[in-house]
């Protein structure tokens, strides 16, 4: 498995952990807090912040660890972290796929309102939709790395 595939896999695991911990946190709160819009705003912002920092720290640590292992094994060449034309094409198509998923989540939100779902949960659907879109984007990258990608 190439460096970038491992990087995508780690990112997917971080996002899954992010969704899991967010759901774990909100579902174990006192339901009284559910009506407090500030609770939701602060929780969502804090989780986004934690996730961004966690992603950066883990990916940097992964890069350092990979480089150390690479050097210890005394393998020829260098780590394949070049951003070339294929990488850019894969990123473009993956971002598009992720965008489709987040659009579906955003369009799904008003449907929930029609079914009298509380606006707080509608907001949660959109929020989690972004996580799912990010996971889908990384899964798309993995798919394109494995199966190849065509122009056009």
């Amino acid at each position: 498995m190439a460096y970038k595939e491992k990087q995508s896999l780690i990112t997917i695991l971080i996002y899954i952990l992010g969704i899991g911990s967010y759901l774990g946190y909100i579902l174990t709160r006192d339901p009284v807090q559910y009506n407090d819009s500030k609770f939701w705003a602060s929780t969502m912002l804090i989780f986004i912040g934690i996730l961004i920092v966690m992603t950066i720290v883990i990916l940097v640590a992964f890069h350092i660890a990979y480089e150390v292992i690479y050097t210890v094994k005394n393998e020829k060449g260098q780590i394949d972290d070049v951003v070339d034309e294929m990488e850019k094409l894969i990123s473009l198509k993956s971002v598009r796929n992720g965008g489709i998923v987040s659009s579906v989540a955003i369009l799904f939100a008003p449907v929930l309102v029609l079914f009298d779902v509380s606006l707080i949960w509608v907001l949660n659907v959109v929020y989690i939709g972004f996580f799912v879109a990010a996971i889908f984007e990384e899964c798309s990258k993995l798919y394109f790395y494995r199966r190849g990608i065509r122009n056009g």
Binding site: M86, Y145, G148
Partner: protein
């Protein structure tokens, strides 16, 4: 309309050029080894810039590296 696929001779050309490794070719062309692997296996069709760069490295013409072949039905 007939469908075409692009085939390449990179593996043979590397072999003919002192068994050049994929990593060496990647370094010379400024792309990742993963991209060279994908091109060799027909999983990625390079841009004209990269295709010409590869041909230039092997000192051959573009059609000696890449050929367009009609897909078998």
């Amino acid at each position: 309309m007939a469908k075409y696929e692009i085939q390449n001779q990179i593996r043979r050309l590397r072999f003919d050029h002192h068994e050049m490794t994929q990593q060496e070719l990647a370094n010379l062309t400024g792309v990742s080894r993963q991209t060279i692997v994908a091109i060799e296996n027909g999983k990625y069709s390079p841009t004209l810039e990269l295709a010409f760069a590869i041909a230039r490295i092997f000192n051959v013409t573009l059609d000696q590296v890449f050929t367009s072949v009609e897909k078998e039905k």
